[in-house]
């Protein structure tokens, strides 16, 4: 964790309680998770009760209160992908990684997420690893795709 960068983000929003979501988003993007002591710092700097910081941090899917794996695996479960077999694809990813959506494996290699349609429905079903789309997937192809990410 780069505490200098986090301090810099927090400093820029000091005293501005309306910036809470912005601050948490910037820290999440930089640090990939939100440690509890950082949330305390945010609460103090923005002059917001800690409980409200925690409430907002647990409400949004993007915010993670635990460390993430080296690779983010996103299985699209949008309706179009669902109709094209996203469920079987997800099961295959779960088997390959040994984790369920929202979890990170013990070796911190993968974090798995599902959900929000990214609007590339013609590619479905798809998985997105570290932002790279793997289009028109089948459960059988999962092992091969994930092999690239160590």
């Amino acid at each position: 964790m780069d505490s200098g960068k986090i301090d810099e983000i927090i400093d820029r929003h000091r005293g501005k309680s309306g910036d809470l979501i912005h601050v948490l988003m910037e820290i999440q993007h930089k640090n990939h998770w939100l440690p509890r002591d950082v949330l305390h710092q945010v609460a103090a700097a923005l002059e917001i009760p800690f409980s409200r910081v925690l409430r907002v941090a647990t409400l949004y899917k993007t915010f993670s209160l635990t460390p993430r794996g080296r690779h983010e695996v996103h299985v699209c479960t949008g309706i179009s992908c669902h109709l094209r077999g996203a469920k079987q694809l997800l099961e295959s990813v779960e088997r390959a990684t040994g984790i369920r959506p929202g979890e990170t494996d013990t070796a911190a290699r993968f974090s798995l997420e599902t959900g929000s349609c990214l609007g590339s429905c013609s590619l479905g079903p798809e998985i997105i690893v570290d932002g790279k789309h793997h289009a028109r997937m089948t459960p059988e192809k999962v092992e091969d795709v994930l092999k690239e990410y160590q």
Binding site: S17, G18, D19, L20, I21, H22, L24, M25, Q28, R52, R55, V56, L59, Y60, K61, T62, F63, T77, G78, I79, S80, H82, L83, R84, G115, S116, C117, L118, G119, S120, C121, S122, L123, G124, E126, I128, H133, A135
Partner: protein
């Protein structure tokens, strides 16, 4: 660049941009929209730039990385101007051949559209079936525009409508024009935009806000992103005109955080507009000031609901407020706040420049203009289409969408995602019209059209939407949080063959109360998919429940 000081300076700028261009010179548009981007079209664009860079300056070809062209299924898409030759599924290896042919005025036959059954080829955009039946007033410019270059938008006539509004029209006249055009909100409700503007304009107070809802969290809806990412200035121009009409000096864009491209294009557009004097203080020398800030949803569907969205902009948790006082009167920080979605704002410039009468000539009696539709599901051609209101759904699904893959039959079409509804394929001749589709139980919503083939399990579709919403609601009010939780349990049991007698009654009661008693539009319309299912596909539900209760009966024996 110094800031433009008048409408005349804007026209001078436009003339300068156009005169520096040779309209006959080949111009290559590489789609970098969401789907093409997922197919690595960025590599195709780079290959074009490298190849074009090898040529002598002046003799060359113009290459443009653009927003979504629409035909996502066949990406990466490349369109070669000036004749708009369409190439599909282009790889970096195809690039030298495309450039060589473009310079010679020839066509690369192997990359053009071939009809999957007849094998008939279509070379130009106007001939490709997917595009041929469309009326692309909003998205058509995407192939002419690099979203990071304001000059491209100005070249196609951009900001002329703003100049017209500021210098030739009073705010009241702008509101009137939008009212006369009968522009209805494209975000879901179909509420008349002009009427909403008027309420905000007449609401007491000096401080007023205008907001672009670019949340688009509905699964299967991707047309707003295609438009906003591909042509951000069009939306921005609409917003500035609206701000002028309403008397607002501060605007907000609320959008998704998960598309880096979208964010980059919006932020670039805002910076460029400011630089050119189209935003900020004294816009085009008119004395009108307006600023825009960007806020992000970081991952919850309910934050697209207007009152929840406004709470987010205030920095509060996105919990909706009951709208006994309209947000146009008391919205962000209780100030009058006018919210429209991306597509609604994008319609405004053309209404101002071409007039309400022209606009109202397109569409049906009560639904005017064109509508962007994102087509997905069990359909041959997924993508973004734009058609006049009133177009029969059959035309969208079959003529543009190419029908159902694998020779299967269509079972149903679904509009509006988790807050919409499904109608059986027998009603596919219904027109794309706010009121007619709402009456059938499949309100257009934002415009996500999902095609379902004969194998689709309709209980599972309702279950899917409920599962989505139970995770994406805020959880504040009981009929939404608990009603959906219980509905989901009943539906899950049915799909697992554990249906029980009385399940239909349980579903109907739960759904009725959710629809009537929820705090916000998310909750109240969450009941719509199931309502439409019980209207058209009740047999299928009863059959699955009977299977469950029979099985239970057998075990009991």
């Amino acid at each position: 660049m110094t800031r433009l000081q008048s409408a005349a300076e804007l026209e001078l700028l436009r003339a300068g941009i156009l005169s520096a261009r040779d309209a006959a010179r080949p111009c290559i548009a590489v789609c970098t929209g969401a789907a093409c981007n997922g197919l690595d079209s960025a590599r195709v664009a780079r290959a074009f730039e490298v190849e074009a860079g090898k040529m002598a300056p002046g003799a060359g070809i113009e290459v443009r990385a653009t927003g979504c062209h629409g035909f996502c299924e066949k990406g990466p898409n490349v369109v070669v101007g000036p004749d708009d030759i369409c190439y599909f599924e282009v790889t970096p290896d195809d690039v030298p051949e495309i450039i060589a042919s473009a310079l010679k005025g020839e066509v690369v036959e192997r990359l053009v559209y071939k009809h999957p059954e007849t094998g008939e080829k279509a070379v130009h955009m106007g001939e490709v079936p997917f595009y041929r039946h469309q009326t692309r007033l909003l998205i058509g410019d995407n192939i002419r525009i690099d979203p990071k270059r304001i000059e491209d938008y100005v070249a196609v006539g951009g900001y002329a409508a703003l100049a017209k509004a500021l210098f030739q029209m009073t705010p009241d006249q702008v509101v009137d024009e939008v009212k006369k055009a009968s522009l209805r909100g494209r975000g879901g409700g179909g509420f008349p935009a002009g009427q909403k503007w008027e309420t905000a304009k007449n609401a007491p107070g000096d401080e007023k806000y205008v907001i672009v809802n670019g949340h688009e969290g509905e699964p299967g809806a991707f047309m707003d992103r295609a438009l906003f990412t591909g042509n951000p200035h069009k939306v921005l121009e609409g917003l500035i005109i609206g701000a002028y009409a309403i008397g607002s000096h501060r605007g907000f864009i609320y959008t998704r955080h998960d598309s880096p491209q979208l964010i980059e294009h919006i932020e670039t557009a805002l910076a460029q507009a400011e630089e050119y004097g189209l935003l900020g203080e004294n816009i085009l020398g008119s004395g009108f000031d307006f600023r825009v800030e960007v806020h992000f949803d970081v991952g919850i569907f309910v934050s697209g609901e207007s009152s929840a969205l406004m709470r987010s902009i205030e920095g509060q948790p996105p919990e909706p407020r009951p709208k006994y006082i309209r947000t146009s009167v008391a919205g962000i920080w209780d100030k009058p706040s006018n919210l429209n979605n991306v597509e609604t704002w994008a319609n405004v410039p053309q209404i101002i420049s071409r007039g309400a009468e022209w606009y109202a000539g397109i569409g049906t009696e009560r639904s005017k203009g064109t509508k962007l539709v994102s087509l997905s599901g069990n359909v041959v051609n997924s993508g973004v289409v734009e058609v006049p209101m009133g177009t029969p759904l059959r035309k969208i699904v079959y003529d543009m969408g190419g029908g159902i893959p694998g020779g299967k039959a269509a079972k149903a079409v679904h509009f509006g995602g988790p807050m919409g509804g499904s109608i059986p394929a027998s009603l596919i001749d219904a027109p794309l019209d706010f009121d007619e589709l709402a009456a059938l139980g499949a309100p257009i919503g934002a415009g996500g059209l999902l095609v379902m083939d004969e194998d689709t399990d309709m209980v599972d579709v309702a279950r899917y939407f409920l599962e989505f919403l139970t995770n994406e609601s805020c959880g504040k009010c009981v009929p939404c949080r608990e009603g959906m939780r219980q509905t989901l349990k009943v539906l899950t049991n049915i799909t697992k063959g554990k249906g029980r007698d009385g399940d239909i009654g349980r579903l109907e009661d739960l759904n009725d109360v959710t629809g009537a008693a929820c705090l916000c539009a998310l909750g109240r319309t969450a009941s719509d998919p199931l309502k439409s299912m019980l209207r058209y596909f009740k047999d299928e539900y009863e059959l699955q429940i009977a299977r469950g209760s029979q099985a239970a009966g057998n075990t009991a024996k």
